[in-house]
Symmetry: C2
Subunit: 126 residues, 2 copies
DNA sequence: CCTAGTGTATTATTACACTAATACACTTAT
DNA sequence: ATAAGTGTATTAGTGTAATAATACACTAGG
């Protein structure tokens, strides 16, 4: 599950880690209540600093995906599926807003953006 | 036209400047061949370093919006409308790609993104 | 010519993000 | 109690982006 983590990737390590775990949760590979590897375990496995793993876990905690319990471990949070779904939609909305802001700054019509997103999505699901 | 430039804004100064000019060009406030303020003029007016203005102009030049002539000045480039249109579409594509990357990282389905963008666009054009 | 004004290039400076290091506090099971 | 394992907190190192400073090269007009 963490085999894709790569320090040479320009995406920050903690982001890569968080992304992997998010996907695992979304895919159901990590069920509610499941324990994540400990900060030190995962750090050792990835040969990175524990603090970096902590940062990844913190991001997930801020999103409500995970709960860190001092002295015990980090666990997948049991949020109702529809609640998580709602959170996803909110995030999608934020991303869309940012995108359109950026596009407006470049003078690109919103319709172009929609079209480009659709096309790009088509390419990926092919 | 440059009254909105603000050093406290987290968006880089050169980006803010470039955005303003891009919009002015798109809106037709700056016609083909029009001279932009000189690097030093604009820097003095905004009380920032000339090099920062240069960076802004460079961004615009890379996009083909503007042409810098050493010893002479910086001018709005007369690109055919369809050529500029093409550039816009390319940029839209790039933005879309980045957006979907980001969404994937968060485990958000592409369809959600498309939906969110459409909705957000609807709100704006209302 | 030559001078004033233009963009150009190179090099600091500064701020911030990322990663790491290290010491601390809590939990759990023995 | 205690030992091993967990997250927590603070601090430091590293790289990079943004801005600034300064000296250079070109252009145009007198």
């Amino acid at each position: 599950m963490f085999d894709e983590i790569d320090p040479r990737n320009p995406i920050p390590l903690y982001d890569q880690i968080a992304a992997r775990i998010r996907m695992a949760v979304a895919a159901g590979d990590l069920a509610e209540g499941a324990a994540l590897p400990s900060v030190r375990q995962l750090a050792a496995r990835l040969r990175i600093n524990p603090a970096t793993v902590v940062q990844a876990y913190r991001v997930l905690e801020a999103d409500g995906f995970v709960e860190m319990r001092q002295g015990s471990g980090t666990y997948v949070r049991g949020v109702a599926a529809d609640r998580r779904r709602r959170a996803q939609e909110d995030q999608a909305q934020r991303l869309a807003r940012d995108l359109l802001d950026e596009a407006a700054k470049l003078g690109i019509p919103g319709e172009d953006v929609v079209h480009a997103v659709k096309q790009e999505l088509g390419v990926r699901t092919r």
